[in-house]
């Protein structure tokens, strides 16, 4: 024990005070025995001493092993209901043992909550662990903390900080130990702080899970590389471990699993893919509680031969082109339109996408958006080949890709083409209200704009009546027509027959060469002899196409199909109203027969380029047709037809390039080209011109991730292998939701550039790394990273080793019994106890004998007196 004085200066008052008391004692006139007076002096001096000590702030510094207990309860998602109940039960028993004094409760998950003092049991029987200001029991209160994570380190730091001075921190940590951030063992704990750990588990159920799938981030095609699978288990077991590359199972083996961590290694290679997804799965276990954690996915980027995707409405027709390209060292995957990936990471497997004779209506919005973003932001290449369903006739006008193509799809037909009379019959029933009618108006406007001034058009709407929106008039009145279309509003029922009849009457007497009706409806009409009417219209030279929009169940598909068949038109079913404008555009172009020219021609070289090196077009055969287009301002027209229309054009869009070849590469218009020796070379060189250039041969990328925090480290070397340290650049990060973020790369070492990422959603994240050297050379590379479900949602067994380590290193107890909480702490701290009150109380009590000694003559105790009489 030690004493200290906070204001020792006051102790100096003792000396003069004692002197004064002594002097006055010496000259005392009091009539008391000498010894009694002496005792009185001593007593009074003692009182004075006590007062001085109190004034000086005398404090007893006592070594104390009294703990202050902080209950740290994990309320994150991973603990689950069972864990919460276990915690509640432990807390109740603990508080009943410790009482509520010198205890605090802190809930925590991704961050710690507010420390609370526990109070005494309420007389009304409320749970003793309930805070007086809060009626909910600990563990049931989940509001203040974010449950989607577990950070034990922050919680421990707050817990020990919340312990008042003079007590030994005793932290009782109730958790499953599966931390998603921070490092519990790296917490700087004060000397003597004990951490007792209470595991919260989901039960003693046996559990096996895939911990990790370790893959190299980048390999060369054909090069073997190691694949490491880490499996953790709570017990010994036997299972089947399977490895899939894409959809194909590449390895399957029976494995013996021991308790703890098990590592299995395979060797794999990537032959064709640029971005290969590997999936590992463990199954067939004897005992395993949860199956969700039995798989994991990893991505590998493979460099090697370029690979393109070739999509055609009829894949068989484009095989010759695929063979020709493969012969020249370009790998080509051939697929139908629905095989085009809908996500950027799917497109990242390729350097170029070729769309051959595919209408815009065959692609979904996701596909179109993904292609555009992939070209602009990730440097992919896109080439459209001609055909009856490409460019304008394919309805590509005003689609997301229309802007980025070097050739415009809204080609107006020439004078010598026959005039067209078209009537648009649009359903304006109540069910069309909203997006459907909006799309219908947009479609009608688009159709009007595609017509030439000589064409004539009318717009009729119907619900239970027929309404003339625009009279039959020349398409030259575009402005008025567009205004009138804007007045189209939703109405009542659906009676289509009178509207079709009116359209037929309008066109019957129209002085036009081509007559066409487009009907748009989303429902089932009142009865009428539609098929008969369609037959009459067809006989009168009017073709009828029908567009059904919405659910199949809501429309009479059979009838509408029959109308279009009898009317020698086309039938479309658009589940997504957004397709309607494309359909109308396509219909208009097709009906006007304005876009396709099927006269044989010889290609004319308009601009010399490396892509045409070694090809003599003087000797090339004829092409038998092409789609008429107009070049976009700024595009490069490389080849043209004899009539001066563009045949091959390209330009740069964002980081990528797009091109258009208005003829085709198959047997329809390029039949003679298929046997031409220059066929393969021409297409290979065009492909190489347009495809993505991953110029990053001197770029090594290292991607690491911990939870939602990732880091990309790029090492850049030049052709001689020396570091390039003067580059500047950034990373374009595109998430699973297609949201994009651009992050600057910071130089952190010679030739090394780093950026920190946040990848907080499950799925594939695409990164496009771009660095520009001081000499102006741009080097680019793309990578992808896969994030599974949040770490917090991974169902894992209790992290017993961590909890045991925490307890052992701090002198705590693993799995304590609540009764043990009454033990004193092993460590001790200095606890200051101010003695002021005690000293003053003592001084006050000493006043009694002090007065006693002066009021009573106690000569029999103290002997004779000085004899002064009263």
């Amino acid at each position: 024990m030690l004493f200290e004085f906070s204001h020792p200066i006051y102790l100096t008052a003792i000396i003069p005070a004692a002197m004064l008391l002594w002097i006055w004692h010496r000259h005392s006139l009091a009539d008391l025995p000498d010894r009694q007076r002496l005792f009185s002096l001593l007593l009074r001096s003692l009182i004075m001493l006590l007062l001085a000590a109190a004034a000086a702030g005398m404090t007893l510094l006592q070594r104390s092993s009294v703990p202050w207990t902080v209950f740290l309860q994990d309320v994150s998602r991973s603990t689950g209901q069972t864990g919460l109940e276990q915690a509640d039960d432990f807390l109740r028993r603990a508080v009943s043992v410790t009482g509520n004094a010198r205890t605090t409760w802190i809930p925590f998950a991704a961050s710690p909550g507010i420390p609370r003092l526990t109070t005494h049991r309420k007389t009304n029987g409320t749970d003793p662990s309930v805070d007086s200001d809060n009626t909910s029991a600990p563990g049931a209160d989940k509001a203040p903390v974010d449950p989607n994570g577990t950070n034990i380190e922050l919680a421990l730091n707050l817990a020990q900080s919340s312990v008042p001075s003079g007590f030994v921190p005793r932290i009782v940590l109730l958790t499953d130990g599966n931390q998603t951030s921070g490092s519990a063992l790296q917490t700087t704990l004060k000397a003597g702080a004990e951490v007792w750990t209470v595991p919260l588990n989901r039960g003693e159920d046996p559990e096996v899970q895939i911990d990790q799938l370790v893959l190299p981030p980048e390999v060369r095609q054909g090069e073997p590389f190691p694949v490491e699978v880490v499996v953790s288990s709570s017990h010994a077991d036997t299972g089947r471990l399977e490895l899939f590359q894409g959809e194909f199972r590449v390895r399957s083996t029976t494995v013996q699993i021991q308790p703890g961590q098990n590592t299995f290694r395979f060797e794999q290679s990537v032959d064709r893919d640029r971005m290969a997804a590997f999936r590992v799965r463990i199954s067939g276990l004897q005992k395993d509680t949860l199956l969700d954690n039995n798989t994991d996915i990893g991505l590998v980027s493979a460099s090697g031969q370029p690979r393109i995707l070739l999509a055609d409405s009829d894949p068989d027709l484009i095989q010759e082109l695929a063979f020709a390209l493969e012969g020249e060292g370009v790998l080509a995957d051939v697929r139908p339109p629905e095989g085009i990936p809908t996500t950027i990471e799917g497109l990242q497997n390729y350097e170029l996408l070729i769309s051959s004779n595919i209408p815009a209506t065959a692609l979904s919005r996701d596909q179109l958006q993904a292609i555009r973003s992939w070209v602009e932001d990730f440097g992919g290449g896109f080439l459209m080949l001609g055909g009856e369903q490409s460019f304008g006739p394919g309805g590509w006008y005003q689609t997301p890709l229309d802007d980025i193509l070097p050739l415009q799809s809204d080609f107006r037909k020439e004078q010598e083409k026959p005039s067209l009379g078209m009537v648009l019959v649009i359903d304006r029933s109540g069910s069309m209200e909203g997006e459907k009618l909006e799309m219908a108006r947009a479609a009608a406007r688009a159709a009007v704009r595609l017509l030439s001034p000589r064409d004539q058009v009318a717009v009729i709407a119907f619900d239970d009546k027929t309404w003339v929106i625009s009279e039959f008039q020349a398409a030259a009145n575009q402005g008025r027509l567009v205004d009138q279309i804007g007045s189209l509003k939703p109405g009542g029922g659906t009676s289509m027959y009178p509207a079709m009849e009116m359209a037929s009457e309008i066109l019957e007497n129209a002085a036009v060469r081509l007559k066409h009706v487009i009907v748009l409806t989303d429902g089932i009409s009142n009865t009428g002899d539609f098929e008969g009417l369609a037959g009459q219209m067809s006989a009168a030279g009017t073709t009828v196409s029908v567009v059904a929009v919405g659910d199949e169940d809501a429309t009479d598909i059979r009838l509408l199909t029959s109308i279009s068949r009898i009317g020698r038109g086309r039938f479309y079913h658009a589940e997504d109203p957004a397709l309607v404008p494309r359909i109308f555009a396509r219909e208009t172009m097709t009906a006007s027969k304005s876009a396709i020219d099927e006269d044989p021609f010889a290609p004319q070289v308009m601009r010399a380029t490396r892509a045409l090196a070694g090809i003599d077009f003087e000797l090339s055969p004829f092409l038998l047709g092409y789609v008429r287009t107009r070049p976009q301002p700024g595009s490069e027209v490389i080849l043209a037809t004899e009539k001066g229309d563009p045949l091959l054009a390209w330009w740069r869009v964002g980081l990528g390039m797009t091109g258009g070849f208005t003829s085709d590469a198959s047997s329809r218009w390029a039949a003679e080209w298929l046997t031409w020796p220059g066929y393969g070379r021409f297409w290979t060189q065009v492909v190489r011109q347009l495809m993505r250039r991953e110029s990053g041969s001197g770029m090594n990328i290292k991607l690491t991730r911990s939870g939602k925090n990732g880091r990309i480290q790029v090492q850049l070397t030049d052709g001689n292998g020396a570091f390039v340290s003067d580059a500047k650049g950034d990373v374009l990060l595109s998430g699973p939701d297609q949201q994009q973020t651009r992050l600057d790369l910071t130089r952190t070492a010679a030739g090394v550039y780093t950026a920190d990422l946040t990848v907080d959603q499950p799925g594939v994240w695409n990164l496009d790394v771009s660095l520009t050297t001081a000499g102006g050379e741009m080097i680019r590379k793309s990578r992808s990273i896969y994030t599974g479900f949040p770490e917090e949602l991974r169902l894992q067994p209790v992290n017993q080793p961590l909890l045991e380590q925490l307890a052992e290193r701090t002198g705590g107890i693993y799995r304590p019994d609540p009764q043990q909480l009454t033990k004193s702490a092993a460590a001790s701290v200095t606890r200051p106890r101010p003695l002021r009150t005690l000293l003053l109380a003592l001084a006050a009590l000493l006043l009694i004998p002090d007065v006693l000694l002066r009021r009573l003559e106690l000569g029999i105790f103290f002997g004779g007196s000085n004899g002064v009489a009263q």
Binding site: S6, L20, L21, H27, S28, L29, A30, D31, R44, L51, A52, A54, A55, P112, G113, I114, A143, P144, N157, L158, S161, S162, V163, P164, S165, N178, S183, L185, Q186, T188, G222, S697, N700, Q715, T717, G719, N720, G721, A722, S725, T748, A749, A750, Q796, N799, Q800, L803, R809, T830, P832, R836, T837, L840, A841, A844, L847, I848, V851, R855, A869
Partner: protein, 662 residues
Amino acid sequence: MIFGTPAALFLTLIALPITLLYLLRVRVRKVSISTDMFWSQVFEQRPPRNLWQKFRHLTSWLMQMMLLLAISIAAADPRWEIPADEAAFQVLILDTTASMQAEEKQGTRFRQAQEQAKRLVSQLRPGQQAAVLSTNSEAQIECGFTAHIPALLQAIEATAPTDCSGTCHQAVDLATSLLQPSSGGRIVLFTDSRPADEVDRLRALCESHPSDEAAGRCDLQIVRLGQSQSNLGITMFEASRAPTDPLGYELLIEFANRGDKPVTARVEITLNDVLVDVIRLQMEADENDSRLLRKLSAEGGVLEARIRDIQFSGTVNLTMTDGLQTDNTAFAVLPERPPLRVLLVSPGNLFLRQALQAVPGVDLTELNELPAVEADWQGHDLIVLHRLVPSVLPEGRMLIIDPQSDCNLWNVNPPERQPLIVQQNTSSPLMTNIDFGNVLIPQAGALTFTGTVENLVITDTDNAILSLCQSRETSCVILSVSLSDGDLPMRTVFPLLVSNVVQWFTGNTGISTAGIRTGARATVALPADWNSDPTKSMTEVFLRSPRGDTRTVVRREGIGRSSSTIELPSLKEQGVWNMSMARPQAGRKKQSNNGDSVVKIAVNLASQQESDLRFSSQTDSLNDSISLAGMRSQLPPWLIAVILAGVLLALEWWLYQRRLIM
């Protein structure tokens, strides 16, 4: 006024026995005398003051009561109520980042912070409590809430600055969490400078704590310390082994002149305390400068850069130093380049031998015939086979030149005469700076490969004279050209090709153990041999700081973590740290750990923020004046009562002894 210990007022009950004692009549003592004549004269000269006589008794009693009351009140701990503008609970945060070590006229900034914090603590009112946190890259509690001023003073004194950079977010967040249960309070941050936007974020954090139960409001007051001053510092120092040159390494150093005047200085760079370079710096005001140095050295070790002779123009600086010393030094660790073990099996070719020996770091073993024992194939990083090829190639990496026999990967066909090179894959790293176009090759071998092969140089007959063949066990580069015919060995193509093959197979990435910034958490790879012996206890590693302190770090935090890496705690001291499996022996700077390997880790401040000791006009206005209400020199009420009691005690004593009271 309120009482801290109201129960002490029960001490006033002592008045009862005291009063009782006063009610007792004091029996007058009888003394026999011979005459009362002289006593009569005394009485006549000094007539009894009957009125005062009556009050002497009462006065004495009153004085005793007053004394008792004073003592009781003092014991009850009276306190003035804390004004609304003062907080009952305060958290003091001491900024311990590196810039706080900047020297000022009144001592370092940190010393100033300590002094101010002590003053604040010393003036705590009764009933007020305070806690002390320190902040750098992390927040740490130094002293929990207490009203015991000496404990707080001791904690403040014991806190030391670090070499870290950091923000104060975690500390302010922690302080807010600590204050919330107390219905809010005051946070006082002692710091030198914070960017204005950070201050805004800190205030917002304080005022809108994310907890839904935030009951109290926390005020954040910032006490800015120090004066704006110029500083020159090293903001980056990294060393990397060159990817292509085994002996070469590159140093990237960045300097920042955070001053309003140009500066000159000298920078010395040493490797294992041996001087390797001196840089003369001449920088304009507020300029950054970076230097990339290319050096050669096979040995590894500790690189140190030290700035000396700093002179800001227009100033006289006798000490030739600047405001902050910490950032005048930086460290990097350069790994050794171990020799490359190459086995050459050849009947004999001078050019081939010399080409291999010319590759730096090659340790060449030569054999004239194929090894008979499988073990002889082991232990080499690269095997070079010239003409001699076993029927089954061993596992490993190989360069095979002019194979004359079949093996498991190819069959040998009749050679091709006068081959014409038509295609070269220049994109392959093996073909860097190589062009076979002008090489005279009278004859080239023709091989038919049994597996997948990448052809790099192809002739007009589709024969590949340079190929790369990779299988599960074996990777080999095959050059099917005779070295004794033609002029290939005498062309630069040949040694370049050999060098490219060596680089290709040894996979030098050029990145060394990267430095760590002070205060940052980092994951470092453990040496392979630390994992090789499962019988060794490998749950902990030991870190020895530059000053010689040792701490343990757990290797694996339970299940789910890789054991080939380790996450280091935040290292707050700049310098070279040593990590080992065995505990370092105390008192020895150089570790000898019985042959166990030691991993050196360079830890540097390298922070633009900490090197900038200037205050902008925005930060100048951030110095909140701390409410000094708590700092008034005011005696607490209890002390006044004690002093009053003491005065009464002495006065009553004197009066009694002079019989003025009874």
